[in-house]
């Protein structure tokens, strides 16, 4: 919990938080929204610019079809109605990283409207659904660097004109936790549909929050503030708690909340008022005359919906039904599309689903955590399936399998090759097994005597010693049988 909720006199208890989120997502196109400049991240300043994104006099925008395709895909994935006609508009304001003096966006007639996103389930099992007001296309601004040179701001327009969608939610969230859940669910859908890499650190996913407080039981919305500069999901949750606490205290002391823009300062952990961009926020929107209306054929819209990949909710349901896995496993396996795909390939290669799930969750994800891609993980699904099979048919022991996996994760070798080279194949030769048993009984005469005397509890200890002596190659079941037979025979 945040510092404030500890310090605050719990004024918050009488109030309810109401949150709506505006999320900007950078679309995964090769070129910008309205010109053929590269969208690649990290180029030298202003290297990716041309007459259009520099707003040179006379240059004109031409819309990127891939941006439209990705935006429509995201809209479908959020169950929106895609408008057959949408209209681009100019949002006018002056800022040095906005070359044209206006941003091309959509206003009156956005690309898509009336969607929804399930973010979890209530205690009674009903889904928690957040309404999506609209999804619209727009272009990004450039970057202003304030701390590079003394007294001046440095402008880099490489990002100017990169295609974005803005996803506006209804004010349906009632807690910071719900806002966090919404963002995680949204990011998951965006990643599943490959619309964006949705990376908050690199700025390909950005969040602004509208938050207000009202008396519990009240149905009218209170005056909201907009919180900007939210740079992580946990930051969103902390900022919302703090801003909500502030508003609640204002209301509790008989004050009124002023509608304003607030900035989240992650370093200081505080929310403070921003100066306004233009006195009255008078953006003077009007239809962009350089771009005719965007018309999408109904058949094209429908085809785009059919071409959607399986979405997270459907995948969860299918994994539970088809693989008979516990929901807790399924949640982990479907958290990302590549993880789910990896798991399914392991099963397809013949592994038993629950065992495969255990391996993926405990071993594979352990190795790939820290930003690495599971798709590039050295132990390919087919190798893991083989390894699981080798345990199942006693070719190697479980312990040996872990060793093999650890080696394969570094060397990419096949499990069978590793097992042979490292001498980890289960020994089935009766003579060898008897030899190890004899050796262990001889080396531990006390234990051997008590075991023969009927102390069956020592069976486990002896099996362990034999396994150690065999360096894991002995089949524990066979050893178990051998030792039991000796005890029965009183040898």
């Amino acid at each position: 919990m945040s510092d404030v909720s500890k310090k605050a006199p719990r004024a918050t208890d009488a109030y309810e938080m109401v949150v709506g989120l505006e999320v900007h997502v950078q679309l995964l196109t090769r070129t910008k929204a309205f010109c053929s400049c590269s969208t690649a991240y990290g180029a030298p300043p202003n290297a990716n610019t041309c007459p259009v994104c520099l707003a040179l006099p006379g240059a004109l925008p031409v819309l990127n079809e891939e941006a439209v395709r990705l935006a429509v895909r995201a809209a479908h994935a959020l169950h929106c109605t895609v408008n057959e006609t949408s209209i681009f508009a100019r949002k006018n304001y002056f800022y040095p990283d906005l070359p044209k003096g206006y941003q091309i966006s959509q206003f009156d007639k956005p690309l898509a409207e009336h969607g929804k996103l399930d973010i979890g389930v209530n205690a009674d099992g009903t889904p928690i659904t957040i309404g999506i007001t609209r999804v619209h296309m727009e272009e990004d601004a450039g970057k202003s660097v304030h701390d590079r040179y003394p007294g001046v701001t440095a402008i880099d327009l490489n990002r100017s004109g990169v295609p974005l969608i803005e996803i506006v939610s209804e004010p349906d969230m009632r807690s910071a936790r719900e806002a966090g859940a919404y963002l995680r669910a949204l990011k998951q859908v965006i990643e599943y549909t490959a619309v964006s890499d949705a990376n908050m650190e690199e700025g390909s996913l950005r969040v602004d929050a509208n938050v207000s407080a009202r008396f519990r039981g009240e149905t009218k919305l209170g005056t909201k503030t907009e919180v900007k500069n939210l740079n992580s999901f946990s930051g969103v949750e902390r900022a919302l708690e703090i801003e909500f606490a502030r508003q609640s205290e204002v209301l509790a002391s008989g004050g009124v909340v002023t509608q304003q823009t607030m900035l989240w300062d992650a370093n200081r952990g505080e929310v403070r008022p921003a100066r306004s961009k233009e006195g009255s926020h008078d953006y003077r929107y009007f239809p962009e005359p350089d771009l005719p209306p965007l018309r999408l054929a109904p058949a094209w819209i429908d085809a785009a919906e059919l071409a959607l990949p399986e979405l997270p909710a459907a995948k969860v349901a299918r994994f539970i039904a088809d693989y008979k896995l516990p929901p807790i496993d399924v949640e982990v396996l479907t958290a990302s599309q590549p993880t789910a795909a990896y798991f399914e390939r392991v099963v397809k290669e013949g592994a038993e689903p629950k065992t495969a799930a255990n391996w993926v969750i405990r071993d594979v994800l352990q190795e790939v955590k820290g930003g690495a891609s599971i798709a590039a993980f050295p132990v390919e699904p087919s190798s893991l399936a083989k390894l699981i099979g080798m345990v199942a048919d006693n070719t190697v022991s479980s312990a040996a399998a872990k060793t093999i996996f650890a080696i394969a994760a570094k060397t990419r070798e096949l499990p069978s090759d590793i097992a042979k080279r490292e001498g980890l194949l289960q020994e089935r030769n009766e003579d060898a097994l008897v030899g190890w048993v004899d050796q262990v009984l001889a080396e531990n005469p006390d234990v051997a005597m008590r075991f023969r005397g009927g102390d069956r509890k020592l069976l486990g200890v002896l099996v362990g010693l034999v396994m150690k002596a065999s360096k894991g190659r002995a089949d524990p079941k066979a050893i178990n049988q051998l030792l039991s037979a000796r005890a029965a025979a009183g040898e």
């Binding site: 007459p51 006018n92 003077r284 005359p289």
Partner: protein
């Protein structure tokens, strides 16, 4: 260096030196590079395959992007700016073998009807130097009328090619919106702007338009519509052609001498077999209010990019806001400032619906007027181009009085239809133009009638 292109370019520069230079000159050409132009001409002469306009010198209005001559839009805010890319229309003309010999003077950012609003000083009318050449493409019109070139590019937003063509006694075409690429035309009002062509004759204008017309992938508003051979439109016979005479363009207040020239022109069209039909375009008188809302609104946004950040002269300041304001205040003249303020106002919160939205709705009604008459079987409309011949410098000091100059021309921009101004006579030695308006993308029909008007006058002389 004595090929035909080289000698044509030499002649153009000789004529320029004769009429344009010096304090008494017309002041129609702002920027030239004779050495470069002669090199271009020599290159054209050296080519075996000759383009449609091989060796034809031309000038372009100062709001069309060129890579070796300045593009200032007649404004201080672009003083010294040379575009690092070239407008599509310039590329097409050069590819056809035409040679750019100069950039022509204009009202600042194409806002004006007299060429009195150029920071580089006014252009004089070659027919009568006490009078304006019209605007905003006054420099291009004067350059053609003075015999420097036979073809010049202008741009039209409300009247800026047809009106100066009328005042200077030459031919001026505003094509259908979307017919010609706007890529590289510095925007004034994007939904109205169109590159236009001046010609010494109808054939010259047709030849120029034929080369620059057609779809351009760099302009999303350019239409994918086949381009006719306009130069082949000349015909002696207008049989079956229905030409409308909209009564709103012939008000009682119209100068009777202009009405007379128009009646004569209509008579000559009838003599060629055209059927003349009286008709009405009822929303015509709303065109000026609509135009002077939409054009300034779009301009206020289009001119926001002139902020001293990426190009153009910057007024040094310690703060960003001061830099913006001092750069823009110094950079823009009075008329541009007035229109930016007007445009910002009509778009601002609380006024948008009453002004901008309302104007766009009425614009729909104006466009419907045209659609209805054209759907009723009318091929062309004939009207006067302007309510008067060229006026004297300083004669129109009230802004709205000046705006009324566009009264017969702005409708075509609002509806997007093509129109041409053709000389139809003189009043006290000052030329008067008649306007032909055609259906969307039917420039061919417009040229047919224009050729007919021109040849009728030649025959009458």
């Amino acid at each position: 260096m004595s090929g035909s292109a080289v000698s044509a370019v030499r002649d153009a520069f000789a004529r320029m030196a004769e009429v344009d230079a010096g304090p008494a000159g017309l002041n129609c050409i702002l920027w030239t590079d004779e050495v470069r132009a002669l090199q271009d001409a020599a290159a054209v002469d050296a080519l075996a395959a000759k383009g449609a306009l091989a060796g034809v010198p031309f000038v372009a209005k100062d709001n069309i992007a060129t890579t070796h001559l300045q593009t200032t839009c007649g404004s201080r805010i672009l003083e010294g700016y040379v575009s690092p890319y070239e407008a599509t229309v310039i590329t097409r003309l050069r590819d056809a073998g035409a040679v750019l010999v100069g950039k022509s003077n204009m009202d600042e950012f194409a806002m004006g009807s007299s060429n009195e609003h150029s920071v580089w000083g006014p252009v004089l009318n070659p027919i009568d130097r006490t009078r304006v050449p019209g605007g905003s493409s006054g420099g291009s019109a004067a350059a053609v009328a003075a015999g420097i070139v036979r073809i010049a590019l202008g741009s039209e937003t409300g009247d800026s090619v047809r009106q100066p063509a009328s005042y200077c006694g030459i031919v001026g075409v505003k094509p259908t919106y979307g017919r010609v690429s706007r890529y590289g035309l510095v925007a004034f009002a994007s939904s109205l702007d169109q590159v236009g062509v001046f010609g010494a004759t109808v054939a010259d204008a047709a030849a120029g338009l034929e080369v620059i017309a057609g779809r351009d992938a760099r302009d999303a508003t350019s239409a994918d519509c086949p381009v006719d051979r306009y130069t082949a439109a000349a015909t002696a016979d207008l049989g079956g052609v229905v030409i409308g005479r909209p009564r709103e363009y012939f008000p009682k207040s119209l100068d009777p001498r202009i009405a007379k020239r128009c009646d004569d022109a209509l008579e000559s069209l009838r003599a060629r077999g055209a059927e003349i039909r009286e008709l009405s375009l009822p929303h015509t008188d709303l065109a000026i209010p609509v135009y002077y809302i939409i054009a300034p609104a779009e301009a206020s946004s289009n001119l926001a990019r002139f902020d001293g950040v990426r190009y153009g002269p910057r007024v040094a300041s310690t703060g960003l806001r001061e830099m913006y304001e001092s750069t823009r205040t110094r950079g823009f003249g009075a008329e541009v400032t007035r229109r930016i303020l007007l445009g910002t106002y009509v778009l601002s919160a609380g006024y948008y619906d009453a002004y901008y939205r309302k104007a766009q709705e009425v614009r729909t009604l104006i466009a419907q007027d045209f659609r209805e008459v054209f759907e009723s079987g009318v091929h062309l409309l004939f009207t006067p181009t302007t309510p008067s011949p060229a006026f004297a410098f300083g004669a129109k000091s009230d802004p709205y009085d000046m705006y009324l100059n566009d009264i017969f021309t702005a409708t075509a921009n609002l509806a997007g239809v093509p129109a041409i101004s053709v000389p139809i006579g003189d009043i006290d030695g000052l030329p008067v133009g008649g306007q032909l308006i055609a259906r969307h993308f039917d420039e061919q029909m417009m040229f047919r009638a224009a050729f007919a008007l021109e040849s009728a006058r030649a025959g009458a002389k």
